[in-house]
Symmetry: none
DNA sequence: AATGAATGAGTCTTCATTCAT
DNA sequence: TATGAATGAAGACTCATTCAT
């Protein structure tokens, strides 16, 4: 009856659903599955969420913004652009990569409720801005237009997510360290950014 | 004799389904949709395909292998490793990127019938092998293990596909040229490969 | 709390289905028929039964065991073997013969869900045992092996069921009294058992 | 094109269908099954039979009447009523029991096309008539009305068929010899007929 | 607020039959 | 006559959502 109790239920639904959606897929997860997993009744689930769609949306939106606001807070304390970039690569990314279920859902077919584009734009914009100010006043990178760089960041970001997603299925061992290592290698070699 | 099985019909089913699957998703496309789109009867669809799954599988497998065998043929005629790499980046990739519906399906939740991992492994293996022989006898790339390189190629490949997939939805203009341009920029800057 | 699962509905489904199955046959009865007959919705039927098979199984199993346990209870109170036999012939049989729909289903093609063999074996075993103890220590019946007697009981039992089943269709009037009368006549004449 | 060739095809369809119907049941056998089994085309099957129903009907009708006319011919040559009865029990019955597939179909759910009642009536009438003339002018059997006797014969006949049908499924060994042996035992003991 | 039975549109698939070749 | 592709009604079952209790 108290608000706290309610909030706990909401979170429980979110957690169970997240796991289910990420492992079986959104469409292959039924409300009945969530009921089974949470131990709640159908009705209860519908008092916390208007629909199944609503649940994915909440998982993604809340998962993402929690991650995002944490990194923003951390970056606010950073002095140099370099430090900020380091925080991103060393903080945000690894944390995101940790959250496999979120990644799965983000890339899933339920993309309509997921608005991946928005997230991609926001995060790559951030990196883009940082990179630009790192080279403020300077020449940028020869042969690379702004648009191309921006696009490149999107490629890398999505590539990382997708590689992590696929890692489990692939027989070739894809490891997070290698993924991040490669990103750093690229950043250094191509953009001259030391992370 | 009776009417012969009509290859054109098979292809029509494949084409309609491809468009439907790629725009609405595999699970959100019903056989009824395909019936409507092709103008055929349910029964006819089932004389050409054993099941709905079978249809995606055919779309992906045939789409991919046609692409792949074309590039193999082209590469067979190439002399140097450099040329082969160029063919890949300048031939296979752009062609693949053209086939948006295929990319959508490849990355979709119907991944079980799609075996994306296999395709990723095969194509990145190819690139990996080429890169290695480009540096045959030499030192490779300092600070980059083989595994990391391999993983990196996967990241790039998947990133490219996903960026293309998202392009339509994103308001920021993602263009194929930029994507490829960036890949080349990376290849040059980080791997020292001129494409 | 929500509405409770309503035993009456379960029974209503069972009753309607029993009639439908027995008159049109199991395979020729569709869930839609049951829906029409019960006035319930498809979904409701499926909240009470997992599948169509489940429905026949329940009809047969519950119908049979109710019959069987009633006769067992009655026979428990009987003193002599003679009395027990009389109860069987005069109690169980007539009651079973009353339940035409059950007989129809029991003999129907849905035999896989029906396990008629089991029922036949059980009931004929019972009779067999009674007959044996009726003649305990004595010579049995000359020229009739145990196996033959057992088989004979099966023949009679199945014959009775089938005759009842066919009665409705046959223009020659087959009446239950005659069927039972004949069985008694046989029992007396061939086995020397007075019923 | 010659008539002979056609008749062979007709028979082939009948034979294959008989086996299929008897083992899988009428409803569970598809025209496609028959096509597979006969090696003919759907169209061809439909030039010999107007419908699936038609096929069962032909199987039953032709199977039965061939059996029946053979026994009639044999009985025509018999002198005494006794001999005729012996021919029935020793000739017709065993032959019928041999034809398991026919029995299965006769008792199957496709009973609508099968007209089992007719066959039952005809054969039991025959036996009834013979029994009557065996006792012509005499007292018949005390305590057994004509109707009851007639009904009894039906019971026995159907019981025999059904027992044979069930034999395969039952774990208790039901053997044809025992079935026939029991019938003779009954005939002797209850009706005083020596077979 | 919590419950879970009720609902019925929608899913994929099968199959007897027809008919163009 | 033979063939088998074409047809589409019908089948069993699922599941997000509602609503009586």
């Amino acid at each position: 009856m108290a608000r706290e109790k309610d909030e706990n239920k909401r979170i429980a639904v979110l957690q169970s659903s997240k796991l289910l959606f990420s492992s079986k897929g959104f469409m292959n997860t039924s409300i009945a599955d969530i009921v089974r997993e949470t131990g709640m009744s159908v009705g209860t689930i519908y008092t916390y969420f208007k629909s199944k769609d609503e649940i994915v949306r909440a998982i993604v939106e809340e998962g993402w913004s929690s991650l995002y606001s944490r990194i923003e807070a951390a970056m606010a304390g950073a002095q140099s652009v370099q430090d900020k970039l380091k925080l991103l690569i060393g903080g945000f990314f690894p944390e995101l990569l940790q959250d496999l279920p979120l990644i799965h859902i983000l890339l899933s077919e339920a993309i309509d409720y997921t608005r991946l584009e928005e997230k991609v734009e926001r995060i790559t914009d951030l990196v883009f801005t940082l990179l630009k100010s790192d080279r403020a006043g300077a020449e940028g990178w020869p042969g690379v237009s702004r648009q191309m760089l921006r696009t490149g960041l999107i490629v890398i970001f999505l590539g990382v997510l997708n590689a992590v997603k696929i890692a489990r299925r692939s027989s070739l061992g894809i490891r997070s360290e290698d993924i991040l290592g490669f990103v750093e290698f690229m950043a250094r070699g191509s953009l001259g950014v030391q992370l």
